[in-house]
Every structure is written in C-alpha cells, then in structure tokens.
C-alpha cells in the first residue's frame, strides 16, 4: 500500500487525467467525479508494487476504463446539472478550442476515449489498444474515423 504522502502526490498528479478520461466516456461531470473518487480509493487500497510512474499511470487508466464501463451499465447513473451549463463554465483559451471540444464531445464514446489517450495523453496506437483492450488496427481505424468526423464537423461549423 502507498504511504499517505505518496498517495496524495499521485492523486494530485493524476486526478485530472482520470476525470478527463472518465468525462470523455460518460459525458457527465457528476459521474466522472464519482469514477475519479472510486479510482483513487482503489489506488489507495492496492498493494501493487508499481515499477514506475508510467506503470502506475497505465494501471490507473485501466481501472478508470473499467469503472466507466461499470458506471455505464449501472442503473444508478446520476442526473446532475445540464451538461451545457457545465461546459459553458469551462475556461477555454480561444473560441476554436471550444469548437474542437464540442466536435470531440459529439463523437461516439469509443472515438472520444481513443482521442483522449492518443492525442491528449500521448500514447501510441499499440499502447492505446492495450489500455482499451482492443486490437491496434481497431484503434487505428477509430482514429482515422474520428479525424474524419472532426474535420467534417469543424468544416461545417465554419460554413455556418
């Protein structure tokens, strides 16, 4: 089990990453917060001997993905504030950042998770495949389709 100091440092370092991935799956602030808390409690309780920060991060991503699946299957998904209210309160640096955010969130959940892991977290296709439990070719296909959809959505937005 991690010491309290090491746990706190890890929780502070990774909680936004966990939340971001959970939000990309669930599109709900409340559910993503619940998943983040559950994953951090799992980290506190685990007796795993993490070999490195990367090992811990990959483990956290796997647990987050599993928690999100459980949450999606659960009949107890919380209903919280309207998503739009939450999104309007987010501090984007530029209007085009909000446009891209909206376009990403309009994608199917399977594309959103790949986008977060590949683009945001910087994992390779193989690593993303391992973390999500799908063949690498599937990740490649999802990335290509996500890019295509994003380009289409953003081009359409420009035309409006």
């Amino acid at each position: 089990m991690l010491s309290k100091e090491r746990f706190t440092a890890a929780a502070q370092k990774y909680m936004d990453m966990i939340f971001r991935l959970a939000f990309s799956y669930l599109k709900s602030r409340e559910d993503a917060d619940d998943v983040t808390q559950n994953v951090l409690v799992a980290l506190y309780r685990t007796d795993k001997d993490f070999e490195s920060a990367e090992h811990m991060k990959a483990w956290l991503i796997r647990v987050t993905v599993n928690e999100c699946k459980k949450m999606l299957r659960s009949p107890w998904r919380r209903r919280g504030e309207p998503l739009e209210d939450y999104e309007n309160a987010l501090g984007f640096q530029a209007p085009e950042d909000r446009e891209l955010y909206d376009a990403i969130m309009a994608l199917d959940a399977k594309y959103r998770a790949v986008i977060v892991l590949y683009y945001y977290e910087g994992y390779s296709i193989r690593e993303t495949a391992q973390l999500l439990g799908v063949p690498p070719a599937t990740v490649g296909t999802r990335l290509a389709r996500a890019r295509q959809q994003l380009k289409f959505t953003l081009t359409e937005a420009d035309r409006l």
């Binding site: 917060d33 070999e51 987010l90 998770a113 296709i125 599937t138």
Partner: protein, 400 residues
C-alpha cells in the same frame, strides 16, 4: 500547432472537482471504520492460509517429458481446426449501456505432427504441478522459439469444484495487467482462471511476458487451456519462468499457486530482410518484425495485411483487415519491435516470403526530414517544436 496540441488545448479545461481528495479521504476513513469492526475473525483466516502455504511447499512435483502429439494439437490445432467467426466485445458502449461487438474471423488448420516433431525437436519441455487446498494447478508442456514466442498447456483441477470459476465457454482470451477476460460467442465477458508468466526476479507485478489464453475444455471440476506468450522488445528467454495461478478475483492465493519452470532450448529462427533495412525473424511459431534503426515510427506502425507465402503456392494470412482476420494469438510491440505468435505451425524452410501492407506515423522537422522516433520528444513529455505529423504507406516484402 500540431493536432496533439490542438486537442490538448480543447480538453485542458476539464478538471476534477476541487473536493475530490476530501471525498476520497472520507471514503477511505469510512472503509477503515468498517474494517475495524470486521477484524476479529481475520486471524483465523490468516492461520488457515499459512497452513495451506506450508502444505503447498511440500507438494510441488516435476513431470516427466512424454509424447507431444496432444500438446501440439492443443497449441497449433487439432482435426477440428478450421475457419471460425467470433464476436469480440468492444470497449464501446451505446447510450443504453449495451456493449457493442465486432466480428472476427480466425482460420486454423490441423497440425502436421511429423513437421511439428521435426522443427520443434528439443524445444519442448515437461511442466510441473502444485497442489493446495484441494486444487491442483499443472503446467503440462511448454515450447519456445528464440524469437521470443512460445506456448504452454495447463490444467486446473479441483474434485470438489473449481474455485470462483466464472467462465465455462470462453472462446477468446485477453490478458491485461492482472485480469484475464474471455469473451464468449454471445459477447459475455468473464474472468478466466489464467496463469501469469513472469521472468525470474520480476515478481507478481512484472510485465515482460504478454500472453493470451485459449480454453481447450472446461467442466465444473477441471479446466484445460493453452497459453500463447510473447516477450516484449529484445528480451530473450531466460533459463526459467515463474507461473502464478490466480484462482480468485482478488488473487490473494497467488503466491501459494506458484510454479517455476525450467525452460527448454528455444527453436531456431530464420532472418528475413525487406526494403529500407526492415528485418523479420521467423520461427515455427511466430514472427518478429523490426524497423530499421533511426526509423520515424517507433510503435506507431501497423500492418493491415500480413501474409506468409509458402513454397507450395499456399499462403498463411496472419492478419487482414477485410474481413477482420486474426490468425495470430498474441501481438506485442515495444520500442518498435513487433512480435506475433502464430495460431498454426509454420515450417520456416517452406517459407518463400512474408508480405506486409500497412502504415506508419511519424514526424518531420522544419526541413521536411523524418525525425527518428526516439528524438521526437527529448524530455519524454512535450514534442520538439516545429514538427509536423505524417503518415507513410508501408508495402514490404521480406525474403531470405
């Protein structure tokens, strides 16, 4: 601005709640309080566990090496091997929480026993077994090739009923971290009792052996399965391998059900080369593909059409995109080295070429030159400034 930087800016505003850590500590404190109330009965359990471990230490036995006909069938395919279609449950869920699936085609073929004996002569070893608490875990045989691939067969047997068995009909197995998930034809996922393989000194939570488990048969008292395995990167097989059998979800018996196998001499490989310095190391049970030094792809390349061509004019499709065909058992990639375990026996002497169609992604510098993958991000976090992404089509033919 690169695509990665644009996505980062778009998702950067998403942050966990300010109260996350407070909530987590409150949850942990509640958990501690409940555990305190339950503590009374735990010493008894501990005593039982220690006794079980002591009995176990005395009951590990070595197996003699026997005939390998059944073993080769279990690893490479018996008379019933052929074309099959599976539903693979995806990490994708619709708005109602239902899991989506995709179809996978596999094409097996019955093993030629004479060829198996010839090309794997000396590369098969007998296993070992361990018994504790009424459960016997046994590795029966193991076979290895020196391009870092291998397979073993194992059984878990308990006359009074297998512990925590949740799967009786898995047709596809995945292994990630500590859990093995099997997906049945109807898309259900369950835990499969799978051994975990570790190099000596790695301990339970190492990860230098990747594996996939395929069930041969299962009853309420016995499970028979085959494990296909591949090392990461350029590791070579050591003299011994640790095998942990995890028989329940919490894996708290893992240390008790541990075997150490003495490994056989790995089967030799044949080196094939392709354009631009790509190499492939072929063995009777797998293929290792390595891009040239200084390549821009690292792990970011994949093949959608990978075919082994044989002297009699036939071909073995290892992977193909349409229909989605997966005739390899394990695929790993580490620092650009891709390792695949075949689902059938291949006689390297009969291979004329290996063709690979796919794509690779990398970055170019300001002068339009591809940047070696290990120089893209000097600090391991941020990209070197001024890089632009590109994608190459790969069309390779490997020959001797």
């Amino acid at each position: 601005m690169t695509e990665r930087e644009r996505v980062r800016r778009a998702l950067e505003p998403l942050h966990a709640s300010d109260h996350t850590l407070e909530e987590v500590y409150a949850m942990i404190d509640r958990d501690k309080a409940v555990k305190h109330l339950k503590r009374t009965g735990r010493n008894t359990v501990r005593t039982v566990a220690v006794v079980a471990a002591m009995i176990l230490a005395l009951s590990v036995t070595a197996y003699a090496v026997g005939e390998y006909t059944g073993f080769f069938e279990a690893v490479f395919g018996g008379e019933d091997a052929g074309r099959q279609t599976y539903d693979l449950a995806l990490d994708s869920w619709d708005e109602n929480g239902s899991q989506k699936t995709m179809q996978i085609v596999t094409e097996g073929e019955p093993v030629d026993q004479e060829t198996a004996q010839r090309v794997l002569d000396g590369s098969v070893a007998g296993g070992a077994s361990v018994t504790a608490g009424g459960v016997t875990c046994a590795v029966e045989n193991i076979v290895l090739a020196d391009n870092g691939v291998g397979a073993l067969t194992y059984t878990v047997e308990a006359p009074d009923g297998l512990p925590d068995m949740t799967v009786t009909d898995p047709v596809w197995g995945y292994f990630y971290w500590d859990d093995a998930y099997a997906v049945s034809a109807d898309g259900k996922i369950g835990l499969l009792n799978a051994p975990i393989l570790r190099l000596p000194g790695e301990g339970r939570f190492g990860g230098m052996v990747d594996e996939r488990t395929a069930l041969v048969s299962a009853t309420e008292t016995k499970i028979e399965a085959t494990v296909y395995m591949a090392l990461f990167g350029d590791e070579s097989w050591p003299d011994a391998l640790d095998v942990y059998f995890f028989l329940d979800e919490k894996q708290n018996k893992a240390e008790a059900y541990k075997l150490t196998l003495t490994l056989p001499e790995p089967a030799q490989t044949t080196v094939l080369t392709a354009e631009d310095g790509w190499t492939a190391r072929l063995s009777p049970m797998g293929l290792v593909i390595e891009p040239p030094a200084g390549n821009p792809y690292g792990n970011d390349y994949s093949f959608e059409d990978l075919v082994v061509h044989l002297a009699d004019g036939s071909e073995y499709v290892v992977e193909r995109a349409e229909p989605y065909t997966v005739n390899d058992r394990v695929g790993t990639i580490h620092e650009g080295v891709q390792r695949l375990v075949f689902n059938r026996l291949v006689d390297p002497a009969q291979v004329t070429s290996v063709t690979a169609l796919g794509s690779g992604q990398g970055y170019r510098d300001e002068n339009g030159q591809p940047v070696p993958w290990d120089q893209v991000s000097p600090d391991g976090n941020a990209l070197r400034p001024g890089l632009t992404e590109f994608e190459d089509a790969l069309d390779l033919t490997f020959t001797q």
